[in-house]
Each structure stands twice: as C-alpha cells, then as structure tokens.
C-alpha cells in the first residue's frame, strides 16, 4: 500500500475531531499491523469500493477515550460503553471515510462507502477488506490514545498520485 494515500484519512481524522470537539489530535508514527486484534475496546469499521481504490478503515478507541469523546461531543457523561457510544463511534468513522472520499474525489478517484459497523469488547478483532497490509496510525487526543487502521488497495496502473496529492503527502 502506498503510504501517501493514507494522508486523506489522517487529515479527515484531524479535521473531524478539531471541528467537533475543538481539540486537535496528535498523530504518532504509523506501524504495520501484525495481527487482527484491535488496539481499543470499541472499533468502528467502514468499507469503501471504487474502480481504482478499495479497502476499509477503522477507528479503535479504549473505553476511556470513547467516553470522553462522547462527553465532549454531546455534553453528557456515560459511565460505560453502551448503544450511544457505539452510535458515536460509527458516526465518527463514517465522517472520516466521507472526508477522505472528498479528498480522493479531488484527485479523480471515486468510491462508495458502506454503512459502518461497530465492534465492542476486550481483544476484539478487526477484519479488513482485502489482503493489503494494514497500517495503524496511533493518535493522542490530549492524553487519551486511539488509533486508526487502514487497509487500502489502489489499482497499480492508476495509483500514481497527481501533483496535488504529492504536495499533501510532503506536507
């Protein structure tokens, strides 16, 4: 997977949380995932498919991070993961995928996104679409960790980024 195509998703995570929470998450160094286990207690996963680009993206949150994000978004405290928290995580991954889709669209790369699914539990697994390597990008929102996973395949003959994409990648 070309790491440059991860950028639209990273930008979408930052834009989504900055706009909705008024806090900008800090991105840490990406790593290649070695197994299917999620890093968090709750994960939202969404698939996308187009002629050129297809795959899936997931956001995975430890319980404390998910509860804090819900509190910051809605202004209500929840004591533990429940249907409201699951709904929020599903909506966040939906917004992130939509934001990335908008960026890819500017490069002429169109794809459809699916309805998100949410998985809850300690040591749950995330099964991505396709056999490409899964890149994990850890984030810190203030002191609270969460991560994004991306499994993305570009058709080889069409995967050369345009000048604009290279500028974004370099930035």
């Amino acid at each position: 997977m070309d790491i440059r195509f991860v950028n639209p998703f990273v930008i979408a995570v930052s834009n989504t949380l900055t706009t909705m929470l008024g806090k900008t998450p800090q991105r840490l160094a990406p790593v290649i995932k070695k197994d299917n286990f999620a890093q968090g207690d709750i994960s939202g996963i969404i698939g996308f498919a187009g002629k050129v680009v297809h795959g899936s993206v997931a956001l995975s949150f430890p319980e404390a991070t998910a509860l804090k994000i819900y509190e910051m978004m809605v202004g209500e405290v929840q004591p533990k993961i429940n249907t409201d928290i699951q709904d929020t995580v599903g909506e966040l991954v939906n917004i992130v995928a939509g934001g990335a889709k908008t960026d890819f669209d500017r490069e002429g790369l169109d794809f459809h996104i699916s309805i998100p699914t949410v998985v809850v539990g300690k040591n749950h697994t995330i099964v991505h679409k396709g056999s490409s390597p899964v890149v994990v990008i850890p984030f810190q929102l203030e002191s609270l960790p969460f991560s994004m996973e991306i499994c993305l395949k570009m058709e080889a003959s069409l995967s050369q980024p345009s000048r604009q994409a290279r500028v974004v990648a370099a930035g």
Binding site: T16, T19, G98, T102
Partner: protein
C-alpha cells in the same frame, strides 16, 4: 418552526437538535431513516437529512418528497459526510436546497438553515 431531523445516528440527531434548540428552533422532530421521515412529514416546514442511511437513504427521501405534491416545496438541507463534487451536484439536481458537509460547526449549520429559510420563504 417544525423541523424534521433525519439521521441514522442518534448522536448526530442529538447534536443537530441541540444546536437548533440553542438557536431558537424548538419545534424539531426526528427520524432515523428516509422511510420513517416520510411518515413524520405532517406539518414539517424544513427537512435536514443525512445521505448514507439504512432502509431508505437521504437521496431516495429527497426524490420521494419532490415527487409528492404535498411536500414538493418543503425546503431540504442535506447534512452528510460526503462532500465530493459529483454527489453535491446530484443532490442539488434532485432538489436539495442546501448542502452541509460533516463535520460542521454550530454556526455553519445555523447560517445555512437561515439562508434556506430566507430564500424559500
């Protein structure tokens, strides 16, 4: 003003309805998909709808409302994470009056709603 908020995310409906309430729009009702929205249209003066929803999506809802003489003139604002040009153009072509891309700030939401109300009054 009776405003119908349509979104499959209860959290997003809650956020939108809070912003509407804070701006003085207190007569809001909600639905979690397009089909439920159609059953709640009685007396609705403005529809705010998501696009990507199960059962019936936002674009199908727009088409249904625009083909129904009773609701064909009700203003519709699409609020969605999909900001790609092709989708925005398609939504406007089908009769959406304005388009808001998630994530949005409260001020963007209220400004666009006010704009639609002014233009369609």
């Amino acid at each position: 003003m009776k405003i119908l908020v349509v979104d499959d995310s209860a959290t997003m409906r809650r956020i939108i309805m809070k912003h509407l309430n804070d701006a003085g729009y207190t007569g809001t009702v909600e639905a979690e998909n397009g089909l439920e929205a159609i059953s709640r249209m009685e007396g609705v003066e403005l529809v705010l709808t998501d696009w990507n929803m199960p059962v019936m999506d936002g674009m199908s809802l727009v088409k249904e409302l625009r083909q129904n003489p009773a609701y064909s003139r009700v203003p519709i604002v699409m609020i969605t994470s999909i900001g790609a040009r092709k989708e925005v153009v398609e939504a406007l072509k089908q009769g959406v009056n304005n388009y808001i891309v998630k994530p949005f700030t409260p001020s963007i939401l209220i400004e666009k709603i006010k704009s639609v109300i002014e233009v369609t009054a």
